[in-house]
């Protein structure tokens, strides 16, 4: 206990410098804790959305939730490129299932809408949107019934007779309550977890760095205490106790930062085109406890580990166990990965392997993994090689001093920037790939501009025919095509097919690859229409309109009125969906990169301060010898800024190469990432450099010749 007390006393006994060190460490731990907690909100936020989306999946197989039944007809619709869910319902008794976010179900002629839809309705003519809903808006759906604050949902009350007449309505015994399996499962969940780990590791490294601040001075102090008889155990306890106040203060501040950051993150971060409710951006209690307990343990372990490497003997820090210098073998995995990716590109180009085959997928997957893991393994070796090359070639003192320091401990130099390397590589690669996807000309079956696809949603044939005729009379329609389908076989004339999708009429087309209109997806055979095929069910109507958005929305509104269970889509909706996913992944990775750059900036800043405190004496004496302060500043800046700039540039180049190869493999036209990418990356690097530069004035104070102790 006395060691514990002494440790706590030492923590506050360092005068102004001690307090500054304590404040810096607390601040660092606080940032680390906030970032860890914010990162850990990712999966719960997605799961909360999944839970909120559950009632959208209501169907015949939903478990009973009320004594009485209800008729249910839901249709996925779109408006101005956004998803719109239209639900028509009719209770079949006095106690029907309840919908989350509504106190009661809307009666016949009543419509309940989400706040975002209410706002949108106020800005659009009713013939483009309002008329689709089929009633008078009398209720607003509460937060509990919405997947996200921007969701567009309308629930329209109907009489049972009315709803049965639409066709496609189902009888349900309850509103679906179990989360669906379409959002955060399988690959996406793994991806989220991998990204979360990728974000957490640099933060944990940062927390470790912060708690080892001024380790050299601490070791000297502990050696003095060893001299008067303290055991190794007592020394460890003492060191841990000394770091405890900073860690505990940091945890409290970090938790406050998390509480303040939640609403900000909910507003700024989007997934699937939508923001989050602040209530959903929350760390589960178990994880919260784990972090609040785990960080102090991590800090204690980090402190103890730093003491283990420096054997503190009564006569001082006698030896610092050196780590073996990294060898060239470390570059092997990344080299193999790069060669494998290039080989995949060559094999694909030469036609030896197909684009859709398993071989190419495995080859690309394995090489990508090898490059990612290889970058982390090769990093310290690359740092050392670059530092050695610079120190051998340069005649400039600042570059020499900086390069020698980097070469002296390449592991530490790379540790602070490993996250930057990975994040920049992945972000650049995705930016290149998504840029290429956006630029590539359509080569597959896609809806033509101006064509509105109306999937009939189980309505009766006569009603569909009647609706088609009414749509054809519309001033916005230039032609209506009804497509008959039986199983996987679709009857459509070649010329008609060419009018609705971006395909000429290729001979022998049996199926439509890529992203065809939804009613033509999973087609196994295309046949010319005959009298017999005219008796098949009509799966969809294709309405050709002018290409202006308002005309398409009016057609959709008319279709929804005629066929309330119908689902309509345009080329823009489908493309927006594809691009949104790619852009969102890219945007998410961009945020992740900025996050990692910020953490790296913090880590490097702390490392700079620590380095200054450690080298106060030699730097002060160099100043006495006439070395200018500007030269010392340049040394410190170069030591910290050099690796982050080199790592970002190197990883970006590698990412661009990988995106080029992947685009070639996918048969797309490669295009450089958009300027937003470069702007985001550049701003992140500049912000990190600004953070590092912010501590440089400290150098002047620490090395002031008049304040130097010479003895």
């Amino acid at each position: 206990m006395s060691a514990l007390r002494l440790g706590l006393r030492l923590a506050f006994a360092g005068g102004r410098e001690g307090v500054a060190r304590l404040a810096l460490a607390s601040f660092g731990v606080a940032i680390g804790v906030t970032l860890i907690l914010m990162t850990l909100t990712a999966v719960p936020a997605l799961e909360a959305r999944e839970q909120r989306l559950a009632w959208h999946q209501t169907g015949q197989d939903s478990a009973p939730t009320a004594p009485d039944l209800m008729l249910w007809l839901a249709a996925d619709d779109h408006v101005r490129g956004q998803d719109l869910l239209r639900v028509n319902l009719a209770p079949l008794g006095p106690r029907p299932p309840a919908i989350p976010g509504l106190d009661r179900l809307p009666g016949p002629g009543e419509v309940a809408v989400s706040p975002a839809l209410r706002d949108l309705l106020a800005t659009m003519p009713s013939e483009e949107l309002g008329d689709r809903l089929g009633g008078r808006i009398s209720m607003i759906i509460g937060e509990r019934g919405l997947a996200h604050p921007d969701e567009l949902v309308a629930v329209t009350g109907r009489t049972p007779e009315e709803l049965r007449g639409f066709g496609g309505a189902v009888t349900v015994r309850g509103v679906h309550a179990a989360p669906g399996s379409f959002v955060v499962t399988g690959f996406l969940k793994i991806l989220v977890i991998v990204v979360a780990i990728g974000l957490l590791v640099p933060v944990l490294v940062f927390v470790g760095t912060v708690t080892r601040l001024s380790a050299a001075r601490r070791e000297q102090r502990l050696a003095a205490i060893r001299l008067v008889g303290a055991t190794r155990g007592q020394i460890t306890l003492l060191a841990v106790a000394e770091t405890a106040p900073a860690v505990l203060a940091g945890i409290v501040l970090g938790y406050l930062g998390y509480l303040l950051g939640r609403p900000v993150a909910a507003r700024l971060v989007t997934f699937d085109g939508a923001r989050f409710f602040a209530a959903d951006v929350a760390v589960p209690a178990a994880s919260l406890v784990l972090v609040l307990v785990g960080v102090p343990l991590l800090a204690a372990a980090s402190t103890a580990a730093s003491l283990r490497r420096a054997a503190v003997s009564p006569l001082g820090v006698t030896r610092r166990a050196p780590r073996r210098a990294p060898t060239p073998w470390r570059a092997l995995p990344v080299a193999v990965g790069a060669v494998a990716l290039a080989a995949a590109g060559l094999l694909r180009q030469s036609g030896w392997i197909s684009q859709e085959g398993v071989v190419i997928q495995v080859l690309v997957g394995v090489s990508y993994l090898l490059i990612l893991v290889g970058l982390v393994i090769a990093g310290p070796w690359l740092c050392r090689v670059i530092a050695q090359l610079i120190s051998a070639a340069t005649g400039h003192v600042t570059a020499l001093l900086a390069a020698r320091r980097l070469a002296a401990d390449p592991y530490a130099a790379f540790r602070a920037i490993s996250g930057v390397v990975l994040a920049t590589f992945v972000t650049t690669m995705f930016a290149g790939v998504s840029g290429s996807a956006a630029q590539s000309p359509p080569q597959r079956a896609e809806l033509r501009d101006g064509v509105v696809e109306i999937r009939t949603g189980g309505a009766a044939r006569e009603r569909i025919r009647e609706s088609a005729a009414r749509l054809a009379d519309s001033p916005d329609a230039r032609g209506v095509l009804a497509v008959h389908r039986s199983g996987g076989t679709v009857a459509i004339a070649c010329a008609d097919l060419a009018r609705i999708v971006t395909l000429s009429c290729p001979a022998g087309v049996t199926s439509l690859a890529g992203r065809p209109p939804q009613a033509l997806a999973s087609v196994t055979k295309l046949v010319e229409p005959t009298e017999q095929t005219a008796t098949w069910p009509i799966s969809a109507l294709y309405v050709q309109t002018a290409t202006d958005e308002a005309a398409q929305e009016r057609v959709r509104t008319q279709a929804a009125l005629l066929l309330p269970g119908s689902r309509s889509a345009t080329r823009g909706d489908l493309q927006a969906f594809d691009l949104r996913q790619l852009r969102e992944l890219e945007g998410g990775l961009r945020i992740a990169t900025l996050f990692v750059l910020f953490v790296a900036g913090c880590a490097l800043t702390v490392a700079v301060v620590d380095g200054l405190l450690q080298r106060r004496r030699p730097f002060s004496l160099l100043r006495v010898c006439g070395v200018r302060l500007a030269e010392l500043r340049a040394v410190v800046l170069l030591e910290a800024a050099g690796p982050i700039i080199a790592a970002t540039a190197g990883a970006a180049i590698l990412g661009l190469c990988a995106s080029y190869l992947l685009s070639r493999i996918a048969g797309a036209v490669w295009s450089a990432p958009d300027p937003g990418y470069a702007l985001a990356l550049g701003s992140g690097v500049l912000a990190a450099l600004a953070m590092i530069a912010s501590v440089l004035p400290l150098l002047g104070k620490l090395t002031e010749p008049t304040a130097t102790r010479f003895e």
Binding site: T394, L400, L401, G626, E631, P705, T706
Partner: protein
């Protein structure tokens, strides 16, 4: 008798309520080796730092070749220390990440010499230092005596006119201390450099041409060697 290179008159310096120098006078001639001795806290290191322009006295002046240092701004004094002075401290002056040879070459590189030239000059010091083969050792891989010899070489590598040595053997055993002093005095005399050294050890002061005693902030007893 050679001319005075450094002349301090009426130096007074206070640190808070502590009066470190109270009217110290000292003249150092070109090529001379002067030892400043005195008890702990007598003001000998403060006097050395005033002579070197590291600190500015509250009163009195220091002239180098007749030019008052007080008239120089901080930048000019830094340039002066870099070009005309060399320094040897008790310990911890070598840059820990630089190997011995680069530590010696440092002042030359700072003065703008080409790397090859600087390294060549630095390499030539090693046989003289008795450190052949240790060119690429880091300071942490050398003994205290070896490190101090490297520090002496660094102080003299750029050919300074005055070398200031503050307790250069304070952290060494007597044998290593002797080796360092022999090296310092021998190299300084060879180069014609003036040496001002602070020490509290009589055997170190014995290497000097002249010893002065500082007591209570004044140079009280010049002693001819």
């Amino acid at each position: 008798m050679s001319e005075a290179i450094l002349r301090a008159t009426g130096l007074r310096k206070e640190y808070g309520s502590t009066l470190a120098l109270r009217g110290a006078d000292l003249t150092v001639r070109t090529g001379e080796v002067v030892a400043i001795m005195g008890p702990s806290g007598s003001g000998k290191s403060t006097l050395l730092h005033c002579l070197a322009g590291v600190i500015t006295p509250d009163q009195g002046e220091v002239r180098l070749d007749g030019v008052p240092l007080a008239g120089l701004n901080d930048r000019a004094r830094s340039r002066l220390r870099r070009s005309s002075f060399g320094f040897v401290f008790q310990f911890g002056q070598l840059v820990p990440e630089l190997p011995a040879i680069e530590n010696i070459a440092l002042p030359l590189l700072l003065a703008g010499s080409k790397r090859r030239e600087a390294m060549s000059v630095a390499r030539a010091w090693f046989p003289r230092l008795g450190l052949d083969g240790l060119e690429h050792r880091l300071p942490g891989q050398m003994s205290g005596g070896q490190s101090q010899r490297v520090a002496v070489a660094r102080a003299l590598a750029a050919g300074p006119r005055v070398v200031f040595a503050d307790e250069p053997t304070g952290a060494l055993d007597s044998l290593a201390g002797e080796q360092v002093m022999d090296l310092l005095i021998d190299a300084a005399r060879t180069q014609g450099a003036t040496v001002v050294l602070v020490t509290h050890e009589a055997r170190v002061a014995a290497h000097a041409d002249r010893t002065v005693i500082v007591r209570d902030g004044r140079v009280t007893a010049p002693v001819e060697a």
